[in-house]
Symmetry: C2
Subunit: 114 residues, 2 copies
DNA sequence: CCTATATATGAACCATTAGTTATATACAAG
DNA sequence: CTTGTATATAACTAATGGTTCATATATAGG
């Protein structure tokens, strides 16, 4: 139960959490599905999801007893941006990318993560 | 003295290490300069640099008693690539970027980091 | 209300690690 | 060879965090 102020960088530093995010890239999923796919214990999955939720990397949706988690790729922007500060060599391309990203964000409501 | 197998993600999860890399983005620097600029202790700087070196994020060059560290931005590619796997929405742009990156890598010998 | 299923949470354990202080190493200069 | 400067390393401390086991909460269905 990490109550410490963890940031996005620390969140994605954990291999299991990266695996979870990778699995969620295939679409919204419940805890049970993630447990089965990744072969980890249920409490561990819940706790990692809690961390990911604390940095807004995932969003939750209730459905009966299930909690359906879905990836929020926008929360990765701090990492993207930080890396961009070093890669000024291709900064021009990066700027184009950022612009494109902002456009995508605006119509990012009920988009197709599947 | 972290002898554990730390990866790039864990290396950049540490805020002080990100600050060090940020400082090195301005060009090659000695440990003393980093200590002054960042206001951290000398042993701490050396240890963080050791970690960064273990994942090839920095390269060292001896000059008299000094050790001059310089950023190796190419080592950030795993992070870039991993993030790219989620951001398939602008994948096309990303591919163009990757191509550009590979071109830059080839003429990355004694380039100008400053 | 009782049971089953799905998920979250608490407690305890153990490993890792950021940080400090003290000391060692490397090199240069006299 | 001694001194001074620059950096690395060792020993230690304290905090953090990943993991497991047990238990609690939530919801559905009889």
């Amino acid at each position: 139960m990490p109550r410490a102020a963890i940031d996005v960088f620390a969140a994605i530093a954990e291999p299991q959490r990266r695996r979870i995010l990778g699995a969620l890239a295939d679409g919204e999923q419940g805890v049970g599905q993630l447990v089965d796919r990744l072969g980890i214990s249920q409490p561990l999955a819940s706790k990692h999801l809690h961390v990911l939720r604390s940095v807004d990397l995932v969003h939750v949706r209730k459905q009966a007893q299930h909690r359906l988690y879905r990836l929020n790729h926008v929360a990765l922007q701090p990492v993207r941006h930080w890396i961009g500060t070093f890669e000024r060599y291709w900064q021009e391309s990066f700027d184009r990318l950022e612009k494109h990203l902002q456009n995508l964000q605006q119509k990012d409501r009920h988009d197709s993560i599947n």
